[in-house]
Amino acid sequence: MNELLNNILFLPEQASTFAERVDNLHYFVVGVTMLMSFAVGTAAVFFFFRYRRRSPTQTTEYVVPSVKTEFLFVSLPLLFFLTWFVIGFRDFVFVSTPPKDAMDVYVMGKQWMWKFSYPEGPNGVNVLHVPANRPVRLLITSRDVIHSFFVPSFRIKMDAVPGRYTQTWFEATKPGTYQILCTEYCGLSHSKMLGEVVVLAPEEWDAWVKEQRKGSLQNRQDALADLSLVPQPARMAEQGQKVAAEVGCFKCHTVNGEPHIGPTFLGLYGKQETLQDGMSLRVDEAYITQSMMDPGAHLTSGFPNVMPTFQGKLTGPQTAAIVEYIKTLRTPDIRTGASSQGPVYEPIQ
């Protein structure tokens, strides 16, 4: 049944956990639409024939609907629409809320390519490698204009907006290669901004990761003889630390827990921060990015509004690296270098 409907409706194959959920609602909605159109159409055609005009000036009865009829006209569609809404919104919440154990990948759109970077090291252009059966969270931004990251087989899409991070996630269900398309018009070669997601079986994934590690470690000048004994800090985080030092974050922020001119970075990520206007919010990627780009937007209680904006001074990857660095200051196991692969974030609320 699923396969048949999939073919009739020209839907691509279902390759993520979300795809199945969306498609089931899709069938229901299309089914009701067809039925309703059919009912309205049949009623109309029946009336056209049944009530043909018999003389040019024929008169008619004065018919007005009863309150009950009008009530039916309103409540019938409303009932259906609300049912769709409830199911649809539940699924929407599902796709908007990545699970806690998801693996992170940064995605950057750029005229006209997709760049991927993993907190642990490797980067890729236009090809995203992910393991099957494991949730992957995408943290998406753009370097120039708005793009939109779309994988039809996963039924996911999220805009890449310059100056901010958006997120989405998926869990691929079968190994294979799936197309990525850009769905927000972004200029001359918009239609050539294609990429692919390569979903690997768990063993292949481990092998792939090892391969990538090797490459990145071999390039390190300070590589030591026995690689397995040296704790490798996440490469992106390491870069982030360097960038933060270069642009001067540490003039005001400490990393050892002491407040200075600004709040400390230690334990910042994931914390519930109290703001000057009395509100509070959870520190996530979006908040950290915003604090760099528009520091006055949400002032932390107890600190003066003195931070300069880094808008235009930090590139997308640099921003991501700093965010990644601040994240490592929270997760104890990452700081000690025991593992760089575990969950490193809480979902954005």
Binding site: L9, F10, L11, P12, V22, H26, V29, S37, V40, A43, A44, F47, F48, Y51, R52, R53, R54, P56, T59, T60, E61, Y62, V63, V64, P65, S66, E70, F73, V74, L76, F81, G88, F89, F92, D144, V145, I146, S148, F150, P152, I156, M158, D159, V161, P162, G163, R164, Q179, C182, T183, E184, Y185, G187, L188, S189, H190, S191, L194, Q311, G312
Partner: protein, 557 residues
């Protein structure tokens, strides 16, 4: 009939020319110099001029559409390069939306019919009316100048920061659209005041024809929403030329702010385009079924309801732009309400045919097409508003198919229906019924053949605004292009027989459809001051087809 008789007194009465006829030439011949047309203050002549211009704009937009469709015949380059393609779909959208769909029905038929339906001699501000025509034309001239000198490649949605960075000439086209906005506001203002102050004695609010209700609701949206668009277009021009940095993140701006402002206008704008269509269809279905509208008040109020909730639904264009999940839920529910209001109308239109006396003429054929496009297009809209389904569909061909079905489909059906329904009234001539039905059938078929494949393309995942596409999408694209040719052919036929009818058509009687709509109470074509002699009296609601002796009206809901 004598102008003072009420409608119910003479079922199906056709006003005969009275003895003063010779002294009251029709508006068409009352002054034949070029100046008497270009500087006229007569709402009917202004309506006719609008009609001529919007038909021209429709032709321009249609040529762009065919270029776009031809280019998509093959996966790679077909007839034009990528830059030309990007300009072509942008201009197709800009011309069709700002120069055809928004002004078409209000400008041409609203201007002509509103005063006739209200028993008024003209609109409230005839000079403002003329000015709004010239504002539209000057906006069009500026925009078309921009199209020839560089063109624009942003899509009609002008999303920032792309539109602030592109090297094409954005400024004149946006400035043209800004001026066209003033035209829209002026028309809306005029209609609101006319409806409030110029109703003839006897025409109470609940005896107004439903076309007037629809124009009134449309006018409210035009006056309230258009200024927001004007503002945002000017800001984009400023960004583009002076680099203000309001929407450009590289300068500290917010690109999503643009989307909020843009859709705050443009979502209600889709109702500016489609409410007049609903109004036309209420008249058409009543006339050709010879029935009072089933649930008149429900239809009237649902226009206002759509106008109202239309302002609170804009966020459904931004489900995947990073807005909060909570927002998405709120906008999803509010969008559903628009669907419910539209459903009320659909059910009541079908109810109107019930126990009617159906005469299946060309405008009624368009009504059938309209009913189908509205139900199907509207339901796909609700499907979109179901947030999770929007995720894969957003910005794919499914969106293109959806809004062509509801917005373009409904508007075109209504425009063609209005053209045929009021043709005898406006020009005093009749056209060939057989050709009318043939071209209606071709247009409706062509429309389906063009856009049903696009729904499927969207399902398959083809994004909109693609110059090249992966090969697996080709079959459906070829089908769509074939459908577009059929559609174009249907329009060509209509253009031919209507032009022929204008010149060689038989003289039409005052009320060839035996309608009891108020606009038929005068001659065809009407004299300059709309009515000869004293004003008609209005004792019955419009489209009251009951036999006089049975004319005890039960309480309407």
């Amino acid at each position: 009939m004598s102008p003072s008789s009420s409608i119910a007194a003479e079922p199906g009465a056709v006003p005969a020319p009275d003895e003063h006829h010779e002294h009251h030439p029709s508006y068409l011949v009352d002054g034949t110099t070029v100046k008497s047309w270009l500087l006229t203050l007569d709402h009917k002549r202004i309506g006719v001029m609008y009609l001529i211009w919007v038909l021209l704009f429709f032709l321009i937009g249609g040529i762009y559409a065919l270029i776009v469709r031809l280019e998509l015949l093959t996966p790679g380059p077909t007839i034009i390069d990528a830059m030309t393609y990007n300009r072509a779909f942008t201009m197709h959208g800009v011309v069709m939306i700002f120069l055809f769909m928004i002004p078409a029905i209000p400008g041409a038929f609203g201007n002509f019919m509103l005063p006739l339906m209200l028993g008024a001699k003209d609109v409230a501000f005839p000079k403002l009316n003329l000015m709004s025509l010239y504002l539209l034309l000057s906006g069009a001239v500026i925009a078309i100048w921009g199209m020839i000198n560089g063109g624009m490649d942003t899509g009609w949605t002008f999303y920032t920061p792309y539109s602030t960075h592109t090297t094409t000439t954005v400024a004149p086209i946006l400035f043209g659209a800004f001026i066209i906005g003033f035209s829209s506001i002026a028309t809306g203002l005029n209609f609101i005041v006319t409806t409030h102050t110029m109703r003839a004695p006897g025409i109470t609010w609940f005896k107004m024809p439903l076309f007037v209700w629809a124009m009134y609701a449309t006018a409210c949206i035009q006056v309230l929403a258009t200024p927001v668009l004007g503002l945002v277009l000017l800001l984009v021009v400023g960004e583009n030329i002076f680099h203000f940095g309001i929407f450009d993140p590289a300068r500290g701006g917010d690109p999503v702010l643009f989307q909020h402002l843009f859709w705050f206008y443009s979502h209600p704008a889709v109702y500016i385009m489609v409410l007049p269509a609903f109004g036309v269809m209420s008249e058409v279905v009543a006339t050709y079924s010879r029935k009072n509208i089933f649930g008149y008040r429900a239809v009237a109020f649902s226009s206002l309801g759509i106008a109202f909730v239309g302002f609170f639904a804009w966020g459904h264009h931004m489900f995947v732009s990073g807005q909060s999940t909570f927002n998405a839920g709120v906008f999803a529910v509010l969008t559903m309400l628009v669907g419910v209001f539209t459903a009320i109308k659909v059910f009541n239109w079908v109810g109107t045919v019930y126990k009617g006396a159906v005469d299946f003429k060309t405008p009624f054929a368009y009504f059938c097409g309209f009913l189908y496009f509205t139900v199907f297009g509207g339901m796909t809209g609700v499907a979109f508003a179901t947030a999770s389904l929007d995720v894969p569909w957003h910005d794919t061909y499914f969106v293109v198919a959806h809004f062509h079905f509801i917005m373009v489909g409904a508007t075109i059906m209504a425009f063609m229906a209005a053209l045929h329904y009021w043709f005898p009234k406006m020009f005093g001539k009749t056209y060939h019924e057989g050709w009318g039905l043939v071209s209606a059938a071709l247009i409706i078929l062509g429309f389906n053949a063009t856009f049903i494949p696009q729904f499927l393309l969207g399902n398959a995942g083809m994004p909109r605004r693609y110059y090249e596409y992966p090969e697996r999408f080709q079959t459906l694209n070829v089908a769509s292009t074939a459908g577009a040719s059929l559609l174009a052919f249907g329009f060509i036929i209509a253009a031919v027989y209507l032009t022929y009818a204008l010149v060689y058509g038989e003289r039409a009687s005052a009320n060839p459809w035996h309608s009891r709509g108020y606009e038929w109470l005068t001659e065809s074509p009407p004299p300059t001051h709309n009515f000869v002699g004293p004003q008609p009296t209005y004792t019955e609601e419009p489209h009251f087809y009951v036999e006089p002796e049975k004319a005890e009206v039960p309480d309407a809901v």
